[in-house]
Symmetry: D2
Subunit: 382 residues, 4 copies
Amino acid sequence: MRAVVYHGPRHVSVDDVPDARIERPTDVLVRITSTNICGSDLHMYEGRADFEPGSIFGHENLGEVIEVGSAVEKIKVGDLVSVPFNVSCGKCQNCESGFTNYCLRANKPGIAGAAYGFAEMGPYPGGQAELLRVPWGDFDCLRLPEDARSKQDDYVMLSDIFPTGWHSVVMSGLKPGESIVIYGAGPVGLMAALSAIVQGASQVMIVDRHPDRLRLAEEIGATTIDDSKVSPVDAVMELTNGLGANRGCECVGYQAHDAQGHEDNSLTLNELIQSIRFTGGIGTVGLFVPRDPGAPDDLAKHGRARFDVGDFWFKGQTMGTGQCPVKRYNRYLRSLIAQEKVKPSWIVSHDLPLEQAPAAYKNFDAREEGWTKVVLHPAQAA
Amino acid sequence: MRAVVYHGPRHVSVDDVPDARIERPTDVLVRITSTNICGSDLHMYEGRADFEPGSIFGHENLGEVIEVGSAVEKIKVGDLVSVPFNVSCGKCQNCESGFTNYCLRANKPGIAGAAYGFAEMGPYPGGQAELLRVPWGDFDCLRLPEDARSKQDDYVMLSDIFPTGWHSVVMSGLKPGESIVIYGAGPVGLMAALSAIVQGASQVMIVDRHPDRLRLAEEIGATTIDDSKVSPVDAVMELTNGLGANRGCECVGYQAHDAQGHEDNSLTLNELIQSIRFTGGIGTVGLFVPRDPGAPDDLAKHGRARFDVGDFWFKGQTMGTGQCPVKRYNRYLRSLIAQEKVKPSWIVSHDLPLEQAPAAYKNFDAREEGWTKVVLHPAQAA
Amino acid sequence: MRAVVYHGPRHVSVDDVPDARIERPTDVLVRITSTNICGSDLHMYEGRADFEPGSIFGHENLGEVIEVGSAVEKIKVGDLVSVPFNVSCGKCQNCESGFTNYCLRANKPGIAGAAYGFAEMGPYPGGQAELLRVPWGDFDCLRLPEDARSKQDDYVMLSDIFPTGWHSVVMSGLKPGESIVIYGAGPVGLMAALSAIVQGASQVMIVDRHPDRLRLAEEIGATTIDDSKVSPVDAVMELTNGLGANRGCECVGYQAHDAQGHEDNSLTLNELIQSIRFTGGIGTVGLFVPRDPGAPDDLAKHGRARFDVGDFWFKGQTMGTGQCPVKRYNRYLRSLIAQEKVKPSWIVSHDLPLEQAPAAYKNFDAREEGWTKVVLHPAQAA
Amino acid sequence: MRAVVYHGPRHVSVDDVPDARIERPTDVLVRITSTNICGSDLHMYEGRADFEPGSIFGHENLGEVIEVGSAVEKIKVGDLVSVPFNVSCGKCQNCESGFTNYCLRANKPGIAGAAYGFAEMGPYPGGQAELLRVPWGDFDCLRLPEDARSKQDDYVMLSDIFPTGWHSVVMSGLKPGESIVIYGAGPVGLMAALSAIVQGASQVMIVDRHPDRLRLAEEIGATTIDDSKVSPVDAVMELTNGLGANRGCECVGYQAHDAQGHEDNSLTLNELIQSIRFTGGIGTVGLFVPRDPGAPDDLAKHGRARFDVGDFWFKGQTMGTGQCPVKRYNRYLRSLIAQEKVKPSWIVSHDLPLEQAPAAYKNFDAREEGWTKVVLHPAQAA
């Protein structure tokens, strides 16, 4: 089959690789019809993560089931399914209590959590390919309604970024009627903004410096803050009578850099602490890593940041972190799409065939104006 | 009246000062019969906080009401009351939603939260004195049952350290049947251990290096870890099948130092991140400060710490912080004392008259063996 | 002053009565500019509640502060305020834990909870009058922003029906993305529908038989079910793939009657149990009463209903009940109005001077077509 | 194999039946070493439930795995396991959100939830037998630690009554420090009392009239109320300063009868409403049924009760109902047993071989003094 393969920093190609296939009785085999390039793919693309050359990218996958293992009893051939980026067994303590993001059995001992096509997240090839093997398919696949065949660009967001943005808002502790500020208007940040609106925020502020992203945020009614022009902390204070926002979301991660391009893994976290009021909460879904050999300073190389714990504590703030447990939310978000309450495809800038993945990576990584979100389509839905 | 007055680093005396008195119609005047020296008093005693010379210490107060303002309608003269260390108005948004630790009206604009006898926590004299003015007395005073007259050393813990220890466990997210590790077996850490037991922890581990404190922890059934002898992270791992504890409490604060005496404000936080499993939660009630001119390094002077955000995020952990909202818990903990489910006075090592406060400060600050908790008694209960 | 006075079943008039005035130092005196007639006023109007002749109606009040007691420190003369229908002291255990609907000090011993102009809810005259005394004014009054002067018909909903509808949805346990069915499209039911939408419901169904009410529900996007034409249970099943709704709200109360006019206090509760799926939740804000001498059957006279506990239990459903704690929500809902996320005035059919109250009661009680919600305006806002 | 078979009202015998065996690749086959007779078995034993003659009893099962299906990957031959009474697939929406008590795939369409050896709970033979087939064994079996071989009478409570009692307390909304009253001191009620203590209740009251049961309750520190001698509502009021308990548990069910033997399915529910204070919560785990042909009155035959909705609503109480989702709690309770925080076997009165089941049923059903809990041991643990 054809697949997007990593060959080293900033070098990907679409190669012929062995077909994915059923390996265990609980596997499901999916022909991928839609698969996104994610911002977190770029950490790997840039060589800033331990991604093995030869690995296949792709953890935001949607497609049609073409074969099921002998013990699969719920998912059927022909089902159109969304595949959460988390690989999870459904049987361990974490899975059964809703922490499918930290499955105890899908990765190697000592590491909880696994994902497709992701550095350190287990041996699972990604879905930027014609076929994808889904382990524990009955537990992991989410069946989609009939309208999904014509609305794939909406439903494809269910495998990662819509739930991930949603999770950041949930972790922030948002209650309806409160205000929230989101750092980062990339695809995840934009989904966080959409999620905050659906969850009843009275005021959604979002910080970024890319005009195309800020424009998308405005389209759904968020208040945008261009941090290349103003201090985002000052702007939030001004918009909130000097109190700060009730809640905040970190949707940037360890490669955060200021408007001058200086990288600092504590930047957005510390700005959030300043932007949020006493008693406020922060949900951090931007990626942070325990080791980062390519970091610009020694502390960051060891996964540490100059964290403003003094203010964080003095203001009595809370923080939730980590990858999103997609299954905790995807059924509910599916209903919101099906009932036309939300249309997450509004961020999609490019629908491309698989073969154009290398150029797409290049442009998306360079933050080329207008490349806000790329959906690859290895196959057509039946 | 007589009161314990701060005169500069490591210099306190018991002085004659003007009597506390009713100043506003909602005030209550309390004759203090029991008032503790708190670990956080030591930050001020050592000159490591902006505590004005001339200030009166004391935020863990219990006593008898001797006068009430004209608008006080619930609290009566003769009531024995516990006074939460938080000064709170009962009328602002934070108070009414249970965040009396971050009252918006008791401190100066921009700073939420106030306390008696505490640096930067507003203009409220402390209760290590014969008399204490309690603003918003109807809202702030907790009436005690009759048995409190003979069990003051139990009930006096309701004004701060019992709720504070309890709060750290609540913020950690502990569920009954889970394991928890507590860093610091000072009075707050010991109360956290007691709280974890009452809240149904299956396993309570506690880290310290002072034999007298560890002994007290053992008395209530906690598993003790002496970090002057073993790595606490290794010890927790060994006790939890290599998974780490479900939950953790930080009960030390910014002046944490290792067994060799090296101070590092990130020490306990980073050890907690290592000691807690994936999906675990941390409750931080040890004090951290936005500015610390006396800190040993530049980062800490600005309230920042070398925080292990990489592992924190990778493991999907959560953290809650800040001072305790005493009123959220004190009624419930009062019932536990009254029904003899708990006896928090087990940590008290010294019951002393007010006049012996200077020596008590000296010994407690020096961590003299056996000085685990001092209760001062300025007056006798009627 | 002029006030709407009850004189017996279906007999009200606007009378001269003694002016409301400051009686205690914590009182606030409000000149009422907007005050609604509520569906629960009709139980009293019809003589189906123990409402003393001579009592003044009115618990949905908004107005301008014209005088404050000597111990009032937050609310100022000139403030435009919304007055929650709950009278609450702010100092008892229930108030301080957010149950201002069950204040332990505002009513007589043994009865928790009080309200203005309400049978058995304490000695508090209502606000369908020129003036209203607000006890514990600092705690109870919610200050409104400047735009409230021109948007009174929106903000007036904050004192009761918007929070009450909201509370029914909260008690149902709704999570974003779930479906919900509301029984009763009166003002509270319509507010429940609006609230469900703001809280992220994917599907909001509402049951009633009055075309004007159903039309209002449709205007905000709810799916309407006319139970004079179809079985509401069948209709809900059909709309939810035979599973039933996730959640339900009871917004009718003990005088529920079927389309043929037969009164049955178990009607809506049992229909809800049938309409909701296994594991579902029900929020009941429609009024039920311990004693109802005017009831059509003996069981109902004693406040009992033929409740379908067998199915309720078999399906593992939950139920929350009771009056709404307005203060738990009104600040948040105020922000939603101020930020123009909601416009609760869409249900208002009549803005009338106080003097027209008698005719308004008559028409509203008769469910005259088009009389969906009446706002009385005793005075003009300054 | 030998098994306890139902042959009609009050007629059971131990018969030879075909061996249970692996039928599907996800099955696990367990040799039962401990299996309890449950109070809910008695409803079936008495013919008050639709239990098919020929059915095998037994839903509280513990044993050793002797064979696993081809797709079973976690559970191993030789494991000692507790089998939750809920049969649940682990793949449906309800299972994955923690409602294994309402699995959507284990029973027939339209009925959520299944159990072993239980009327209307699906086609699953019970475990009062030498062998038990456990469908979806990887998801449903809970592995037990080594000490379980010698502490089976403790761990056997994990399959039903310990989690069920625990669930009633959780559904009541108990917070540490609150008071609670439990109606029914049968095995489930006793477990509710134990659970309330572990969850931090300050005061646990329990109502029954059997001296042997009340004695067991006293042994763990509960306050007992003998409702054959006093009014339980009055007794609770007296113990709670006239306020009523904060929380209550219904652990009796639809066959509740008063001290004179008069059966009334609303009895305990209405007494709970009276015993609980305003804002209180009730957790109902006693069985209620949609249809009860053997009921003493017409309303009850249709599953309805004369429910005191007027007081329930007026006091703003909440109620949760239904069977317990055992998996939500059993891991945590396992830890409490393993760490010797609880010893639920204290209620066991009889350890018997399987062959003595008929006499055990007879005595337990007759509430013979001293027959508080029977554990049958079809096989010995290896």
